[in-house]
């Protein structure tokens, strides 16, 4: 039964920032192992939708279920949900007072209650995987943006999450560093991680996404496989958007 159920179910969700209606009756399911890329013009509500999934934003109406359960409102059960959903931000957000290694072990030790030795071992393996193991004892400010973002991904993975959310993970990076972060994301996708990605990297969307969801003005305008979406967008809004993106 749980097998058929989508991991993330977004069900008639509405959200307002004051007067501003930023999510308009959004319904979207993300299956286990699926990679969904959210596209859309600036201000269309992509970040808000992504952040609603681990309740960094609260919604006003509708329901979001994760692994069959409605998102808890607060307290320990909300913390538990967040532990199961990894998140990577545009601005890395590493803990500036902790070393790279401590950044990666903090969650497992304090939330998952892992033994420090086990957490460290896991962290070193993850850092090795993202290619930062030699910098484990440095502080975030000593690393480049691309390196910091790879650490942020390792930090999220250390929680052994069921899904990963990416909100424009490469937008704050110098162009030469975008590739190294995307490579990590691609390998994650290949391993079958469930991923929701807000990104303007069309190459990534084309080659990795199972599905593209296009938002405009808070509405989910259309969703399709990347092949369909890029070759033959159904809506005018999407055609406009692609035209602008691809001329760049």
């Amino acid at each position: 039964m749980a097998e058929q159920q989508a991991l993330i179910e977004i069900d008639h969700v509405n959200k307002w920032f004051g007067e501003l209606h930023v999510l308009k009756d959004i319904t979207l399911n993300i299956e286990r192992g699926e990679v969904v890329v959210l596209l859309g013009p600036s201000g269309s509500g992509k970040s808000t939708l992504c952040r609603s999934i681990n309740r960094l934003e609260t919604i006003n109406d509708g329901e979001i279920r994760f692994d069959g359960q409605p998102l808890p409102a607060e307290g320990r059960s909300l913390a538990k949900l967040r532990a199961d959903v990894g998140m990577v931000f545009q601005s890395f957000n590493l803990f500036a007072h902790k070393t790279i290694l401590e950044n990666v072990t903090l969650g497992p030790i304090k939330v998952r209650k892992d033994k420090p030795a086990a957490a460290k071992e896991q962290a070193m393996a993850l850092l090795k995987r993202v290619g930062i193991d030699s910098q484990a004892n440095k502080y975030p400010a000593q690393l480049s943006g691309g390196q910091q973002q790879r650490v942020a991904i390792a930090r999220a993975l250390a929680m052994r999450p069921k899904a990963m959310l990416f909100d424009e993970p490469t937008s704050a990076l110098d162009p030469e560093m975008v590739g190294e972060v995307l490579d990590v994301m691609v390998s994650l996708a290949e391993e079958g991680m469930t991923m929701v990605c807000v990104t303007h990297e069309m190459g990534f969307a084309r080659s990795v996404a199972n599905r593209v969801a296009f938002l405009a003005d808070g509405q989910l305008v259309e969703q399709a496989t990347p092949e369909e979406f890029f070759a033959d967008p159904k809506s005018d809004r999407a055609r406009d958007f692609l035209a602008k993106i691809l001329t760049h």
Binding site: F95, H97, L106
Partner: protein, 224 residues
């Protein structure tokens, strides 16, 4: 200087500064703990706690310390019978600590709160996204950084506290300034040397304290 050639005067001088030291250390610890809790209140998601934090800071930061100390003796002790010890000196000492701590805690709270505000909100979101609870986020991510960026301001608060301990003299703890007044009373012809001695002792201790905190603040600055 002949005022210190008298051994009774010398021991009064030492005793006076020992009281300053005891008041400073005890109140520093108490006001630090209290100030951290209040800062937690002020940034907490619970409106009642935020209200308590706000009221505390507004009330005590804007009341002259002399009045607070006066209140501790004449209201808490004299009127309401709050008694820490049958020994009057020890009792007055603790009344003074209460007054100094509630007052200083409001400054500690504000220093930490501005430290908290200097922690990028993104790090807080990242911590919440890992599944840390509010208390864990505060303890593991916000406060360690907030307190480091608070070392400098905290040094000023500590120096102010050390000087403020002399106000406890007004309720009968014979700290340095009370000893000084006594010595001036006995040696009316040496007002300036006595003053220079006492002010100088404060300066000799507090000036390096200021530098120490400046150094610590650079040493432990969080690089962003």
């Amino acid at each position: 200087m002949d005022i210190l050639s008298d051994s009774a005067d010398m021991s009064a001088y030492v005793d006076g500064f020992m009281w300053v030291l005891r008041l400073t250390i005890t109140s520093a610890i108490a006001s630090f703990i209290l100030g951290v809790i209040l800062a937690g209140f002020r940034v907490s998601p619970i409106p009642v706690l935020r209200g308590i934090g706000f009221l505390w800071v507004s009330a005590f930061r804007n009341t002259p310390l002399t009045l607070i100390i006066f209140f501790c003796y004449f209201a808490l002790y004299s009127t309401f019978g709050l008694k820490f010890s049958g020994n009057i000196t020890i009792n007055n000492f603790w009344l003074g600590v209460v007054g100094l701590s509630v007052y200083t805690a409001s400054f500690v709270c504000e220093a930490i709160r501005s430290g908290i505000n200097s922690v990028p909100v993104g790090q807080v979101e990242a911590a919440r996204a890992l599944g840390l609870t509010f208390m864990q986020v505060l303890r593991l991510v916000i406060l360690p950084q907030a307190i480091r960026s608070t070392i400098g301001p905290m040094g000023s608060v500590l120096i102010a506290l050390a000087k403020n301990t002399t106000i406890v003299g007004t309720i009968g703890v014979i700290e340095a300034s009370s000893v000084m007044k006594g010595l001036i009373n006995d040696h009316g012809d040496q007002v300036i040397p006595i003053f220079v001695l006492f002010a100088g002792t404060f300066a000799v201790v507090l000036i390096p304290t200021g530098y120490l905190f400046g150094w610590l603040s650079n040493r432990y600055e969080v690089k962003r």
